[in-house]
Symmetry: C2
DNA sequence: CTGTTAGCGCTTTCAC
DNA sequence: GTGAAAGCGCTAACAG
């Protein structure tokens, strides 16, 4: 037998209306704050609502109105510290505005992205915030709700986007290392099918050229998606005939591996700048110099932008870029061949 | 050529039925995998489904069936690394079973917990996984769906719970420190209104007594919820007339602060055992000894338990406890007065 | 095997 | 100001 269904019959609007001796429509008006109801009637209805403990059914309301008070958020992985922070911030602000939040992870799989986005759309979400993974987002051109992209630009669509200037951040990192006298700077980063990686790698290459450093492709180790892979890449780089004297790590997952490798090999003399701050970066010896992009700030900006769209305000600029900040802690200020 | 999706004009089951020259009910049967439909009819309907790009409306279905294929997850904060990992794991497994996931954070506020749980319930979630914060969960006794608690036991209700043995973990940590010869062991941990903290503190006190160590309440610094507060608490402890020679940190947020403080004061000779592993714990010098409780394992167990309940299997035991593991990395193996 | 009829709980015409 | 009726898209009953 199936589990016993609770006899707790839900209080419906009809029950409220009956108790207040009025119609469901009038009760509905009161619930929805329609002013055109007699004060006396309104009082009766509110009393009934409180007495019965009535709570409107969001599903029925959603079906009838064709819209929901839920925000859809689609990110790579909720377990990724960066996205966890961004998502958590958005959720907090959304709740404060009386909005619910539905979160879905894609695992960076375009097909999963398409599935979850369509599902969210089918649920009539009020708005959609997406860290894009797919290569074509043109199907969102006529989406029935505001769509905002985060961290990466959509492809095949001029969608409003909140992001950091990956290219500039990478250039800044490499320029900083060049200023310490480094000529051979290694790159460790994620997969090339992620736009963020491509932009950071492009910035790295731009600045290598601009600073006239060694443009050696064997110093570039992309497609490292986990800390373990970042660690392995670092070990490889250090084993090169002409190893780099400095490393730029392009994302936090990699950074954790790079740091682990440098400490394991006792090669903390190798200069290091990481894209993205992380816990304990300031505690290590030496402290890890980072290009800081505050995930909470991204969350706040994304949430506020979405609230503007939900309120009907049109987008002014298609892109909102957040500033980056070089945080010097020691690892990035070491000179080449700094072994002691 | 991928078919263009017009999200605006929704394809309804009625359209599919008309195209297949049948009734909506028969079409509904096919959609829901009812075998009692003629193969030929089924083929016509499936063809229409594909041609029209029909996707069932989850809202309408939910309203009609009185249930949804969404799992509700309620945790302290999605930005907390521990809960991000647990939640991410559950989400991944849920998606794989065709379930959606709705996540809500409470910020450890009992009123917010009550609000979000009721909201999730109003949305007819298929099941609810809760890291409890409120002090009374008796209102969930007759919940219309399976409810599973994670990380902490509910109060006022014998609910099925997945957790780690906080008390035993704390005892193990203190016993380990006692074995190194420490007699004064400090405690840094979260707020006392969180059951996890209470259990770990109780375990700490139990073992202090069992090992006949100094039971000095001035060594106990609870109510530290952030890394900054953990850092401050550590500084306070070290400034005591009779400072501890070892510290037990009861949660990861605190641990990050404790570690930062020890490094900042150059007092890494103070022995340290932390409850909960964290990134770079093995990279620091000395490596941080931890009582490891794998958040992913908790997520897997929680998800599987929930799937069992959704399938109708009754709970065998009310509690499922995950094993803890002492990971020795150096910080917890240092002797007292180990300054060099 | 298939179709018709009623709703799920709510909000929206459009009357009064 | 208020209310009756008509659905939103779907599926549980119960016929046929």
């Amino acid at each position: 037998m199936t589990p016993r269904q609770t006899v707790k019959t839900q209080v419906r609007l009809k029950d409220v209306a009956e108790m207040a001796a009025t119609s469901t429509k009038t009760a509905s008006r009161v619930i929805n704050g329609d002013p055109r109801v007699a004060d006396e009637t309104r009082a009766r209805i509110l009393a009934a609502v409180r007495e019965l403990g009535y709570r409107p059914d969001p599903t029925a309301r959603s079906l009838r109105k064709g819209t929901d008070d839920t925000l859809g958020i689609v990110v790579d992985s909720i377990a990724d510290p960066f996205f966890a922070s961004v998502t958590g911030t958005i959720e907090r602000l959304a709740i404060a505005r009386g909005l619910r939040v539905m979160i879905a992870s894609t695992g960076r799989d375009p097909r999963i992205e398409s599935t979850v986005v369509n599902d969210l759309l089918a649920r009539r979400v009020a708005g959609l915030i997406i860290a894009p993974t797919a290569t074509d987002h043109s199907y969102l051109r006529h989406a029935p709700c505001p769509v905002l992209f985060v961290d990466r630009r959509p492809e095949g669509l001029d969608g409003e986007t909140v992001l950091v200037d990956d290219n500039a951040g990478a250039r800044q990192a490499v320029a900083h290392l060049a200023a310490q006298g480094h000529r051979r700077v290694g790159f460790v980063g994620g997969k090339m099918d992620v736009a963020t990686t491509r932009n950071r790698l492009a910035g790295y290459r731009d600045q290598i050229a601009a600073s006239a450093l060694d443009a050696d492709e064997s110093l570039v180790r992309a497609a490292r998606n986990t800390a373990d892979e970042g660690r392995a890449a670092t070990t490889e780089l250090l084993a090169l005939p002409e190893p780099p004297t400095a490393i730029f790590s392009s994302n936090t997952r990699c950074s954790l591996g790079v740091v682990a490798a440098l400490h394991a090999c006792k090669r903390t003399d190798v200069a290091l700048v990481c894209f993205g701050d992380f816990a304990l970066a300031d505690v290590l010896a030496p402290g890890v110099t980072v290009i800081d992009h505050d995930p909470q700030a991204i969350g706040v900006l994304a949430a506020e932008t979405m609230f503007e769209r939900l309120a009907g305000a049109p987008a002014v600029d298609l892109e909102r870029t957040l500033p980056l900040r070089l945080v010097m802690r020691g690892s990035g200020e070491q000179p080449p061949a700094g072994r002691t």
